[in-house]
Symmetry: C2
Subunit: 248 residues, 2 copies
């Protein structure tokens, strides 16, 4: 323990001319470096926040912030009283961002456009009724549309909306505005549940994506809920070359 030897100044300040010495980012980088270098191998217990704070000459809160970020990334595991360990099984955690289609396409640097393909009111498909918790006699509005990136079909979407729980507009508004955007603009922000899966493309969408029926397509399903009441079920199909990339 500290025995007064330290005058508690991190003065020194000369060794590095850098602007900020003790950013939490720099501490995170330092710890990460020691892990990657093998100095702290998987499963190893690393020093406590207190010890690291002293060693790095910063406040414990700063170390805490750095280690918290590493824990969130799955790099380390923290438990009270026990301490902090390097993750023994490298469970990679990363952030999945699913923006609105307009942003997704424009972020590619390409020109976004949207087109309505069709709409109809009917019983919908099994998956939609299940997700929306309604039965066969209950009509749903289905809207099919396409998103283009520089005039190439980027994604094909089918969405089922439950008119019993939300006031739907005249479907003609979907000629210019995607249903997902209409939802977020006209209802208080919803809760959304996702699933990512692989499916054979549906026959009806195959032509929209210029694909042969049976082609595997990456599919994202979304259920939007309002106060825990599901209001829409959507499927977005991406052509075969599409990948969700995670670099870190």
């Amino acid at each position: 323990m500290g025995h007064g030897s330290s005058t508690s100044l991190k003065a020194e300040g000369t060794s590095r001319g850098s602007k900020r010495l003790n950013t939490w980012q720099s501490i995170r980088a330092d710890v990460l470096g020691r892990i990657r270098s093998g100095e702290w191998p998987p499963g190893e217990l690393i020093p406590t926040e207190q010890e690291l704070a002293i060693e790095m000459g910063c406040a414990r809160a700063t170390v805490n912030r750095a280690l918290r970020e590493l824990a969130t990334s799955g790099i380390i595991k923290r438990r009270r009283k026990v301490g902090t360990r390097v993750a023994s099984t490298p469970s990679c955690r990363t952030t999945l961002s699913l923006p609105v289609m307009r942003d997704e396409i424009e972020n590619l640097g390409t020109r976004y456009s949207y087109a309505l393909c069709a709409y109809e009111t009917g019983p919908g498909i099994d998956s939609a009724r299940e997700a929306l918790q309604v039965d066969l006699g209950h009509p749903l509005l289905m809207v099919k549309s396409r998103y283009l990136s520089d005039n190439n079909v980027y994604c094909c979407e089918a969405i089922w909306l439950n008119p019993a729980v939300i006031d739907l507009p005249d479907p003609s508004v979907f000629e210019t505005e995607p249903p997902q955007e209409w939802l977020s603009g006209n209802l208080p922000v919803q809760q959304t549940r996702f699933a990512i899966l692989a499916r054979e493309i549906e026959d009806i969408c195959a032509s929209n994506l210029n694909l042969l029926p049976g082609t595997p397509v990456l599919t994202i399903e979304r259920v939007n809920s309002l106060d825990a009441v599901p209001v829409s079920f959507a499927r977005q199909f991406y052509p075969p070359h599409h990948r969700l990339i995670f670099d870190d």
Copy 2:
């Protein structure tokens, strides 16, 4: 420890000691509630940290923590000098966790088992050579294996390892230990890049998954690197019913 029971504490002075009132979680919940209720609609500027801290009766740092978490989730957007806005386009951000297969299966509450299917040294497939940045004359070790969940095939894996950059063990060790686990246990933690996509299952793996050739399978590709040098390229195939779920 130097400090005896130096009861210099200020007796908590505050009124009632109900649990904790001003946790950052409660503040996050409060703000989220106001957003969801429509009090602060999309695009709206919300009060500054300072104002919220006063209103909630807590420190600005606590408000900052709460808002930071919301910003990370994509619920709000923050800019210095400008302030904090409710996201106008609800770009959903969530955490994708890709644990080791053993954990992934055991987390389902099922029994995990692993089986080696085959291995061979050869030129590998185009994608593998590209990912590993080697050419045709360069031999790679390919290992195919299966992961079972309660004796049902859960996932089928093919991995190509570059013997030029890592010392590979005798392939027989892969009879009991999955290559991914061997990698993480015998090399300093690597950087991993991912991609998620949909593919037709390869003929060779179809029988391993008890599927017909051509079936769409959710595929995860991983490239493990060591000091920016790629050492392995893996493809994991999940049967058609498999979904990556995001609830939040």
